[in-house]
Every structure is written in structure tokens, then in C-alpha cells.
Symmetry: C2
Subunit: 463 residues, 2 copies
């Protein structure tokens, strides 16, 4: 296969060569400035420890900070730095990036580092730490440009140039009024093409979207993403500008939310990665499995009630797994669709009923298609392989077919209605729905299938 | 619950009031310019058709284009415009947004509109149409600033101001050499804070990351997102600048990829939404269900081989669903983790073996925990409810317990190894793995459980 990312591979190789052969600090910094920090970060992970130590001495903390913010698992590299230098590096980072890194460290190491941070950085980090983890405030950054609303276009431009040295999120410029309250935003493009004697007022979007620092991330994430902006302002309850969310933050939030939903659908309590210790991963999975074990025991005791059917007609057990699996699959499909719909949109009661009917219709149509297939194929199979006469064979396969239709319609209904109910009472449907739906569907399938077999095959036709 | 998005709700109400009461076109445009296009788009969906018709007459096509690009399901609104105006609106959009909208229309309507587009817009759209749907080129935009590398800082700034009127993705400025080949990128911030007599060369990142227009989206999406840039350049095979990917495009790509993975894990061929007709949704789900039906029949025929066990000892069927369900759940967990790991990273052979061992260890530890629980709880249950003597009860529950351990270790192994194999032969593991893993795990669980019951309970202990 052609290498689709030639550029990146080459850059890292080039960088390794440059880092290993350049002995002059200034020259090295000049050479590195041509490359993207992410590529430098990757190159660093390929160096030996002594090589890295030499490199750390040649780079200033600001540059190390930029590079480190692109390393996924930065802890071991940070530990290679002396405490004072590590604290300096973290001080140069945006507070939210700094916090991400501090959270990876042990509690003692974290406190030690926080105490050595610059006063400003320490204040910023402590501010972010004061929010709950699920609040917007916890992932905002104070890296933004803010100007008062009474400036002229010319003054705004020089203020921008002055602040741009420290703050690099410049594509939207935030405006505050005399009381320091948020008064709107200026698209940098509009400022750049404005003439010097234009009024600044004309290019301010005074009704710009915003969020509050204590808003729940999950409640407003989709809406933020819909604005498709490079950044969204975060306000205090009294309307002052507290920070911003950048598009990078938004990408991360969307990824996290979807990754979590994905994990929950698969019965994990949250997303895992390869580096995690076995015991941590085990703990993420065991809770669901225990819940499922107990629910499974409940299903077992219902199956036990039909022992008499099996004792008379052992062949029916062959198709138990088929009916249960199909009901489970259909329920999972409905669950996945419903969760995504609930996440994307605020559904009116009417739309919920529509969704319910649609899912049941799909369940019926798919159930009918599969039921007929099962009737025909299993009928032939039972006759040929199990030596039943044709009529008995088709009566048995008919039981399977009818059970499939009934189980699939009910599974669709259950797979739709349960997440809607959980959503209504503000419980995350992705977490709570799975095991409940599986269990209800198993019960419905077992009762339908063995119930039909008992009445139809044993009591009516005496097969 | 406190309304977390007060701002937005109010903006839409304000906008409805403004739109309904303002009769002067110029004044309306001025008033609307204070609002975000997404809020205007939402307000428009709340207007009546005649109100919208009045509005369309008062806005210029450029503004309508910006607003329409924020409407999710824009087709009905576009149909309200006369063909010529609709074509004009689409001509003003970025080519990738225009294409998204055109793709929603019927083939005949689409061709009709494409023929009425401005020459430039038509060329741009046709260029994007020339790429395969899974190629980077199909979702890039030509809305970017591009300057030659021999300019001075001052000339670069005036060139930026000149181009910014038409192109609003200005935070990264792309640089080409005399042969029009991509030569690097300038961070707008660096250009703004540069002094007029600085050399432009100094602020160009000459080793800036890029992708090729024919690269597969799935192959480089994660890497692009890792660069955390506002945009990434897209090059032709000979190194010329063909377009850019913006961070909004990247968010969409990441969302789509994760949404598809999520859907595939749930046995859907791709993501669905509420508006889709029932039959379309049904077709997305039926293929998997048919595959699963056939695989289920295969499992059924294996269960059939153990009819003799059931005939002698009907109680064993009670716990079949338990063992199968648990094996299935564990397999799904391993599958979900493995797919995410494969998507995020390029695994070396060593890491793959590590992942395999880790999954098996987790499978064994969880299996052992659950096996012991099952042994104790089911032993008591069988003694009390099914009236078996204590030894027989615990022999039966022991069979379930051991089966759980064996089935869960093997399920973890299968749930890890199958997606790795599919990934290796370039088949999407999220699609192909699910049914195969379920079936293999069902077979393993059935054979282990009934096999153990046959040997252990019937042949050795003659319960």
C-alpha cells in the first residue's frame, strides 16, 4: 500500500537528524521553528533519554510547553525534567492543557508541581480545578483576545497586536462593555478588512452565542458544535467573560461523548486504552458483567419453568439460542438508533410516538422476512436432519417463525421505549438501557417461544 | 431544570420579532448582521412559508447562502426559491457545503441546479464531484488564503486583506513557491505581530503537515485531528495546493467515523436518522439480521447434537442462555476495545500480542469472579428451588461456573484476534467482526457447557 502520509514520516526522520546533529541552541530553535510541534513531539518520543536531556537544555520552556502539549502520555517526559523546569514548562501551557497533564500525575507529584507554578498559572489552574468535571468551566481556556467596546478600528487592531504575543486564539476577538460584561464578538477577518475610519460597532456581532461556566458539558455540547465557530465564549452567571472553548476543545468533547456512548453500548463503564493496567480495565468491565449475571439468572429461572416442554420435545431447545439472539440483535439496533436520535435532537412527544411506531414497523417487517425464511429453511432442516415427518417439521419451524416475529416486534418496542423513559428521568440511556433491554427481550423471547411450543406443539398437535 | 442555553432561545425569539416587524431591506440586513447565522437559520425554520418568501426578497443571495449552510435539512427551503435565485445562493457557498446540499436533492433537480450555477462555482463543485466519496478531496474547500513566498511582510498583509473579502478561513495563510508548489504555512498571529521589515521567510513553517487529495479519509483522519490545526492543506500528487480541510470539516469527519463505528457495532450498516423512510431504515438493518439468522441456524444444529444431554437432564437447559449471554457480552467488550485501539494507533506485532494477553487476562479474571458467584448462587438456587441434593446441585452449578470461565477466556481471545485479523487484510473490523465473533462464541459456549455437562454430570457422576 502506498504510504498515505509521506510528509509526516519524513518530517519525524528529518527532525531526528536535526536534533541529533545540531549543537548550537539558537540554530536548533530556528530549525525546529519550521516544523509543526506535533511532529517535534513525535520525534522526541523516538530519542534516547540522554539525547532528550541534551535537547531540554537547548530549548526554552515556552517551546517545550508547546511541544509537550502534543504528547499523548506526557508524564514520563515531564519526570525527566528537574522540578523547577517542569513547573516552568507547565506554567507556559494553556491552563486546560496544564490541567490535563497534572491530572495524569500522582496526587503528591501534582501538588508539588502546582506549588511551583508561576503565580498567574497557579491561579488559572486553581480556577479550572474549582469546577465540577462535567461543567463547561473545567475545559475552557483563558487564551483569548478581549477588547473594550469603545475602541476605534485602529485602536482595536493595535490592541490585538499587543495581546497576540501572549494569546494565540485570535480568529475571534471578544468585546466587553464598561462593566466588563460580554458585549459581543468580532470576526478577525472583518477587523482586517475594515477601513481605519469605519466604526467598530458595525463589525461587532452583539448577539453572539455563548455558554455559562456552570453549564453541564453534555447539555450544550451538540449545540456548541452546531455553531461551527473557532471558539465560543464562556460567561460567569453575571455575564462577565470567564474564558473560551476552542474548536479543539469542542472536537475533544464530541469525541469523548461519542467514545463513551460507544463504550457503554458495548457494556464498558467508560472508554479504555491500551496503556491502562489490567486491573483498571477489569474494573471497568466487571460491574456490567455482574449485573448481567444476575439478570441472566432471572432469565434462567423462567426457562426452568418450561423444563416440562423440553422433557417431552427436546428438539425445541435447538432453536432457543436462535430466537433469543435475534431478539437481542433487534433490540440493540433499536437502542442504538434511539440513543443517537435522543442525543441529537429534542424530541416532542409526537416525534417520540412516531419513532416508536417506526421502530415497531421495522421490527415487524424484518421479523416477518426472517420468520418466513426460518419457517422454510428450518422446516426442511428438521425434516431431513432430525427425521420428523413434513407436517411436524413445519409445525416446529412455524413455532420458531412466529416467535421471531413476535419477539422482534416487542424487542423493537422495548429497545425504543426504555431509553426514552430513562432519558425522560435524566438517567443516561446508554448506560442503563442495555442490560434491562437484553433481559426483558430474553424473557419475552423465552416465554413466547416455549409458550407457543407448549400450547401449539404439545397440547394441540401432540407431536 | 434551569435553562442552560438562555442565550440561544432568546436570540431566536428576538430574531422572529425582528424579521416579522422590519419592512426595510437594508435595515433588516443591518439588524441581522448582529446575530449568528445558525440562530437566523433556526429562526427561519419557525417562520411561515409566506413570511419566508418576504424574507428571501429582502436578503441578498450571499447572506441566504451563509444562513442556509447552517440548516440541517435544507432541501424544502431551497425549493421555495426560484431556480435562478437558488442557483445563485448555492454559487455563494463553499463548494463542499454546496455539494452536501446538492447531494440531498433528487438527481434531476441536482443536475438542473448545477447547470445554473456561476461558472466558477460549477467548476468547483464538479472538481469535488470528481473525487471518490472516501477520498480527502471530496470534502475539502477552496476557501483559503494563498500567497507567493517572495512577498515582504507588508505585501503579505495587503494580499491577505485583498483576499479576505472572498475567503474567510484566514487563520492560516498558505504559501506557494514560483512553481505554484506548496511551500509552507504562516500562522496569521505571527504575520500580525511581525514587524514590517521582518523577513517573511522567518515566519513560514516550511515543514507544515499536509495530506494528498486522493488519500483515503479513514487512513489519515485521526492524524489530521492530532495536529489540532484550524486547517490542513490538501495537495495534488505533484505538490500543488488543491484545497484545505477546515477544523469544521475535521469535526464532521471524526463524528461520521465514530457514528459509523457505533452503528456497525449495533449491527446497522450505517447511521440512521429519524427522517429516513421506514423502508430505507429496514434495508440498513436487514442484511445483518439475515447473516445472523444463518449463523444462528448453524449454532442451532450444534445445540441439536446435545439433545441427548437435555433428554436425560432437562435442568441444564435453564443455564444455556446464561452461559451464551455472558460469553457474548465479554466478546463484545473485547471487540469494542480492540476496534478503538486499532483506530487510534498503528500497533506493532508486539503490542498486538500484549493486547491479546491483556484481554485474555481480563477475560480470565472476570470469568473466575463470575464463575465463583455462579457456582455459589446457582448451587443454592438449584438445591432450594429444583429440589436436587446439595452435591448434585453444586455439581450442576460447578459446570456452569467452569463453563463461564472457559467461555469468557475464549470469547476475549476471539473478540480480540478476529478484528486484528480483519484489520490486517484491510476489511473494516467494525463491520465484519460482530456476527463472526458472536457465532464463534456461541459455538464455544454451547460445546463447553453441554460437553462438560455430558462428561461431568452424566457420564462420571450419573446425576
Amino acid at each position: 500500500m502506498r504510504n498515505v502520509f509521506i510528509s509526516k514520516k519524513d518530517y519525524v526522520k528529518e527532525l531526528l537528524k536535526i536534533i541529533r546533529s545540531t549543537k548550537n541552541a539558537q540554530k536548533l530553535q530556528d530549525l525546529l521553528s519550521d516544523y509543526h510541534e506535533k511532529d517535534i513531539a513525535e520525534a522526541i518520543t523516538h530519542l534516547t533519554k540522554p539525547e532528550r536531556n541534551t535537547l531540554y537544555h537547548m530549548l526554552d520552556p515556552h517551546m517545550i510547553a508547546e511541544i509537550f502539549s502534543y504528547i499523548d502520555d506526557v508524564e514520563p517526559y515531564l519526570e525527566e525534567l528537574p522540578l523547577a523546569q517542569a513547573a516552568k514548562v507547565i506554567s507556559y501551557m494553556d491552563a486546560d492543557d496544564a490541567l490535563d497533564i497534572l491530572d495524569e500525575l500522582s496526587e503528591s507529584k501534582k501538588n508539588e508541581l502546582v506549588n511551583h507554578l508561576d503565580i498567574d498559572a497557579k491561579k488559572d489552574v486553581q480556577k479550572l480545578l474549582s469546577y465540577e468535571e462535567d461543567e463547561i468551566g473545567s475545559c475552557m481556556t483563558n487564551n483569548f483576545i478581549c477588547i473594550p467596546n469603545h475602541l476605534s478600528v485602529r485602536e482595536a487592531m493595535s490592541e490585538l497586536i499587543r495581546q497576540a504575543g501572549r494569546h494565540d486564539n485570535i480568529s475571534t476577538i471578544y468585546v466587553v462593555d464598561d462593566d466588563e460584561k460580554f458585549a459581543g464578538a468580532i470576526d478577525l477577518k472583518d477587523l482586517i478588512i475594515a477601513r481605519e475610519n469605519d466604526s467598530l460597532e458595525d463589525i461587532i456581532s452583539s448577539s453572539y452565542p455563548y455558554v455559562f461556566e456552570h453549564d453541564k458539558i453534555s447539555d450544550c455540547m451538540e449545540k456548541i458544535a452546531d455553531y461551527e465557530e473557532d471558539s465560543i465564549p464562556v460567561l460567569t452567571p453575571d455575564g462577565k467573560l470567564s474564558g473560551i472553548l476552542t474548536s479543539t476543545d469542542i472536537v475533544e468533547l464530541v469525541e469523548d461523548a461519542m467514545g463513551d456512548d460507544y463504550a457503554k453500548l458495548a457494556g464498558l463503564t467508560s472508554e479504555e486504552d491500551l496503556k491502562e493496567p489490567t486491573l483498571v480495565s477489569m474494573k471497568k468491565r466487571l460491574p456490567w458483567l455482574i449485573v448481567l449475571l444476575f439478570l441472566g439468572i432471572a432469565v434462567s429461572s423462567v426457562v426452568g419453568m418450561f423444563e416440562s416442554v423440553v422433557a417431552v420435545l427436546p428438539i425445541v431447545i435447538c432453536f432457543q439460542s436462535l430466537v433469543l439472539d435475534m431478539a437481542g440483535n433487534v433490540g440493540t439496533q433499536s437502542l442504538a438508533v434511539t440513543i443517537r436520535v435522543l442525543m441529537d435532537e429534542d424530541l416532542t412527544a409526537k416525534k417520540k410516538v412516531m419513532l416508536l411506531f417506526k421502530e415497531m414497523k421495522i421490527g415487524f417487517l424484518n421479523g416477518a422476512s426472517l420468520g418466513i425464511m426460518a419457517l422454510v429453511i428450518l422446516g426442511i432442516y428438521i425434516h431431513l436432519c432430525k427425521n420428523y415427518v413434513w407436517t411436524s417439521a413445519f409445525l416446529i419451524s412455524g413455532c420458531v417463525g412466529i416467535s421471531l416475529v413476535v419477539a422482534m416486534v416487542i424487542s423493537s418496542l422495548v429497545g425504543t421505549i426504555i431509553p426514552i423513559l430513562f432519558h425522560k428521568i435524566h438517567i443516561d440511556p446508554a448506560v442503563a438501557s442495555g442490560p434491562l433491554i437484553t433481559t426483558i427481550n430474553d424473557l419475552v423471547a423465552v416465554i413466547t417461544y416455549y409458550g407457543l411450543s407448549l400450547i401449539f406443539l404439545i397440547e394441540i398437535f401432540h407431536i
